[in-house]
């Protein structure tokens, strides 16, 4: 029982910390008081910057692969080992972006991009 109690406590800590990160801005800047102008400015700019951050977060592995290739480690391996450059990710991201600029339909862009990526990692590379 002692162990279950410890696990429960740890889960409670994870819940509390996560809730804090999600609720804090709303607790600090309540509806009643006027929001500071800099925070209003952040509210208009951060959505764009944050999505940029999330894109990089998802692509961190291919970005680091390219960086390590460019910095000279395993130079010239691209023909022998295209996976080392994160090629499947780059092809699929490019396809998603082009499809979305062209068709402007989220489900088509995401669906085709994901299937393309699955084919690339399962059957090609």
């Amino acid at each position: 029982m002692k162990e279950i109690g410890g696990d429960m406590l740890l889960v409670a800590a994870m819940v509390a910390a996560t809730m804090l990160t999600r609720f804090l801005p709303f607790l600090i800047f309540r509806g009643g008081k006027p929001t500071p102008p800099f925070v209003v400015f952040l509210g208009k700019t951060l959505p764009y910057a944050t999505i940029g951050l999330l894109v990089v977060y998802c692509l961190k592995t291919p970005i680091l692969s390219v960086a390590s290739q460019l910095s000279g480690q395993n130079g010239g391996e691209i023909i022998k080992n295209p996976g080392a450059w994160g090629i499947p990710e780059w092809i699929a991201v490019f396809a998603v972006a082009v499809l979305h600029m062209w068709k402007k339909n989220s489900l088509i862009s995401i669906g085709i991009g994901t299937v393309l990526y699955m084919v690339l990692v399962q059957a090609v590379f």
Binding site: V11, M14, A17, T18, F26, F29, I51, Q122
Partner: protein
């Protein structure tokens, strides 16, 4: 309050990319937990109440090594610090939300945030219900995926490798959509630039918080410069 199906019908297609991603990543989480001796009770419970993908993955090793809850709290806060930005970004949008507001804040994951932050609900629909359905459906997908993973274990025969790319694709689609609004290009470039710079400098495990700091510093600088410009213009008039 009257529940209407029109809102659900409108919200569901917007969550389909999240459905694909969350089923796969949720199932992977359920399997990982099961492999470490934590059955469906634990994994489903955690997916319901914690509901934060990257933290839950880290949480497996925290549970296995039985870390001090206080240390777990600090680590969880650091890993999830990016949620602070989602909250600030949604302050305006959530300001006039009457129903479900606490739940909408609780359920603000990376994916729900990115779907909601560009959401413009047609005026004939109940906006609060649309927000709720998007948030709640995403939550259900995550819990369902976790449960499936915990129950099926490695019995899956369908090769799902690469299916989690749906979430990357979702973020790319939202990025491209925002790019077409010209006013958002500079902050978008800032976000990508700060993240790539910090990724290269600090490595993949600890670049988010430095990147957030760089973004805040640059935005503060831009904001102050703009204020100086505006007051100069006023003086000139």
């Amino acid at each position: 309050m009257k529940w209407k199906t029109k809102e659900l019908g409108y919200a569901f297609p917007k969550t389909v990319p999240v459905l694909a991603g969350y089923l796969v990543l949720g199932a992977a989480y359920g399997m990982l937990m099961a492999g470490n001796g934590y059955g469906p009770f634990w994994s489903v419970l955690i997916s319901v109440v914690v509901y934060a993908g990257s933290l839950q993955y880290l949480g497996v090793s925290l549970l296995v090594s039985g870390v001090n809850p206080l240390y777990g709290f600090v680590l969880s806060f650091m890993l999830n610090a990016r949620h602070l930005f989602y909250g600030i970004s949604m302050l305006d949008k959530y300001k006039n939300v009457k129903k479900f507001k606490p739940y909408l804040i609780f359920a603000l994951t990376d994916e729900t945030f990115s779907v909601l932050c560009g959401e413009v609900t047609p005026s004939e629909l109940d906006r609060d219900q649309v927000y709720f359905w998007i948030a709640f459906l995403d939550h259900c997908y995550w819990v369902l995926g976790t449960w499936l993973g915990a129950m099926l274990g490695n019995a899956l025969t369908f090769n799902t490798a690469g299916m989690d790319f749906a979430l990357t694709a979702l973020f790319v689609v939202i990025f491209v959509g925002q790019w077409s609004e010209k006013s958002g290009r500079k902050p978008a470039i800032l976000g990508v630039g700060a993240a790539v710079l910090c990724l290269l400098l600090f490595g993949e495990d600890q670049f988010i918080i430095p990147a957030m700091a760089v973004m805040l510093a640059v935005l503060f600088f831009v904001y102050n410069n703009r204020k100086v410009l505006e007051s100069k213009e006023k003086e000139a008039v």
